[in-house]
Amino acid sequence: MSETWIILGASSAMARALARSLAADGHELLLCGRDADDLARDAADLRLRGAALAEVMAFDTRDPDSFAPIIARAEAAGGVVNVAVFAGSMPPQEAVESDPALLDGVVTDNFAAAARFLLHIAPLMESRGAGSVVGVGSVAGDRGRIGNYVYGAAKAGFHTFLSGHRNRMARKGVHVMTVKPGFVDTAMTWGLEGMFLVASPSDVARDIRKGLRKKRNVIYTPIFWTLIMLIIRMIPERIFKKLQI
């Protein structure tokens, strides 16, 4: 049965991989992002890969006015509505430290905009009594690290929001899944030093589909990050504050 999927931040490599997986199963895709020209190429591609529909819609985390038309479009589609949030940004920590004003954008892109969008669309999803939310956070949100804690804090905020949202939406039959990827081979990590165990976007997409089938609440992807983060979360603060990880 074909369902509608709203994909926020559809240009990201992980979003593209998930969209292709959904297209192969014939779903209807709303590709939401800023680069409409490039997303049009994705839309054409996804239709050829089997999507029943692939439409480009303007979405900008910094422009809340862009949210309403997307929600209206999903409402008009009827049937089950799902949302997958991939939007995010990660300026280098040093850049934020030298210009603290950058923090607002990081929080908006990685947390506030998505949370606001999900709150807006919640009544529609509740009224349909089904559907899923896929919220892509990060292992960086599990612990504040010296090299990346502004980004991590925004993701942590998003994780906590998703946890509460899951609690609310589950009562109306909507499943909310938090996805915490480790290092993924995307434009964000390309060429960065110190990358290891890098997963491909299609691996992440496969884990997301599997997590949805099994109605998982929180997944780490690839799976071994579950263990890595379990260990990292257990390190006491008095030791953690001396570590360079």
Binding site: D45, L48, R49
Partner: protein, 438 residues
């Protein structure tokens, strides 16, 4: 744009480069990327997709299919799309790429740049025969559409031109109708080289290929398994793609040592019943038998491997292949992967590999003696009036290539005119002097 400075290799993992790679994920990001030669999935074995002296463009994320016309079968797609993705998306609709090489991981751009061929080369010619136009970024950084009508010389030089004429951004290709998702494959044992060549001459199937036991000596010299196939009319139209397995680690080199390979080959030969067999197989597993095992190149260990592939004209093929096989068997260096195939005359560009005759491809683990042996085999190819495949090569010399590619002087002149500063130079073109001394 951020460059990845990690060392990267060709498929054979012997040669490597660390000149930096930019990998645009959106068409627009190309504007901010440094201009260099394009590369795809790096399925070329040697240094065709390497650049040590400067940045290269990794095109694998520009992999979208843009438009398809079901009336004409014409598909427009970005260069980074994998041929297996095209097959997966279009086989259920009754279409397939007309030419598919041995791996579906090859990209559209790579298939054009190497003018690849498939098991139906004797009927369909090379990949370039189905290419209608190419969107090419020139050395000035701007993109233009190149075709047989707009710039015939540049168009042909790009088909098989190993990326030296510019960056292939996207292309229009004509897909072939494909009434079934399956092929009927007939396989039978072949006892000798002479019987092999007879089988190819007698075969009227659209697809044919032979596996050859390159370790067999004496009376068994040239034995193998002949395989011919026709698109099935007995099976359903479409088969879902099987899940692939990965080789997660690099095993020690002895896995492919002489005795192991001889034992494997003997078993592989006897796997086919002496009376032959017929099987119906999905398209993808027939065209791309090794793709089910991603990273199989790791089986050759840390030191990697070479592939030697030559094509020989019909009059000298039988004798030359016989001598080559003796030499290879005596060396004890061959790997299980060795392929013999009849080729037609079809080739699309001046640097395209095929010629009418027979092509022999053999893998060699990168061990002592392999390089010297391959060099001898290349010399033999030159003597026999044949040529070797640039997409596979990592060892040839400029003199050997000059002798095998008679249109090279014109190609050089054109490439220097299109790219005077050598932005699109690769390690392959530098090693073989494909641009000519400027």
């Amino acid at each position: 744009m951020q460059l990845n400075r990690d060392r990267y290799t060709g498929w054979g993992r012997v040669l490597s480069a660390a000149g930096g790679r930019a990998r645009p994920e959106k068409a627009r990001m190309l504007d901010g990327a440094p201009l260099g030669p394009a590369m795809g999935q790096r399925r070329a074995y040697g240094d065709a997709a390497l650049k040590s002296a400067g940045p290269a463009l990794d095109m694998t994320r520009l992999d979208r299919m843009l438009a398809f016309d079901p009336d004409t079968g014409v598909l427009e797609a970005e260069a980074g799309v994998k041929l297996s993705d095209i097959l997966t998306a279009f086989a259920p609709k009754g279409w397939r790429p007309a030419v598919l090489p041995g791996t579906g991981f090859a990209t559209l751009g790579g298939a054009i740049a190497a003018d690849v061929h498939g098991k139906n080369h004797h009927e369909a010619g090379t990949f370039g025969a189905q290419v209608l136009s190419i969107r090419l970024i020139g050395s000035d950084g701007t993109a233009r559409d190149v075709s047989e009508t707009t710039e015939p010389e540049v168009f042909r030089a790009t088909l098989g031109g190993m990326g030296l004429t510019g960056v292939i951004l996207s292309a229009k290709i004509r897909l072939a109708p494909c009434p079934s998702g399956f092929v009927d494959v007939d396989e039978w044992r072949i006892g000798s080289l002479a019987a092999y060549l007879e089988a190819f001459e007698a075969s009227d199937a659209p697809f044919s290929v032979g596996w050859i036991d390159a370790t067999a000596k004496g009376p068994a010299l040239g034995r193998g398994v002949f395989e011919e196939a026709r698109v099935s009319n007995r099976a359903p139209a479409f088969a879902p793609v099987a899940k692939s397995r990965n080789i997660p680690i690099t095993p020690p080199g002895f896995v492919l040592s002489g005795p192991v390979v001889r034992a494997f080959n003997a078993a592989y030969f006897r796997r086919i019943p002496s009376a032959g067999q017929r099987r119906t197989r999905p398209l993808a597993s027939f065209f791309h038998p090794l793709d089910g095992l991603t990273n199989w190149n790791r089986l050759y260990g840390k030191k990697g491997f070479h592939q030697f592939q030559c094509v020989l004209p019909p009059d000298s093929a039988a004798m030359t292949i016989d001598t080559m096989l003796r030499r290879i068997a005596d060396s004890g260096l061959a790997a299980p992967l060795a392929v013999l195939k009849k080729m037609g005359a079809g080739r699309s560009g001046p640097m395209s590999f095929p010629m009418a005759g027979y092509t022999l491809a053999v893998d060699f683990p990168n061990r002592g003696g392999a390089e010297a042996l391959i060099n001898t085999l290349i010399d033999q190819t030159v003597e026999a009036g044949g040529r070797i495949y640039l997409a596979k090569d990592s060892l040839a010399t400029p003199a050997q290539i000059d002798a095998m590619y008679p249109e090279l002087p014109d190609f050089r002149a054109l490439v220097r005119r299109l790219d005077p500063e050598g932005l699109f130079e690769t390690d392959l073109s530098a090693r073989l002097n494909l641009r000519g001394a400027s």
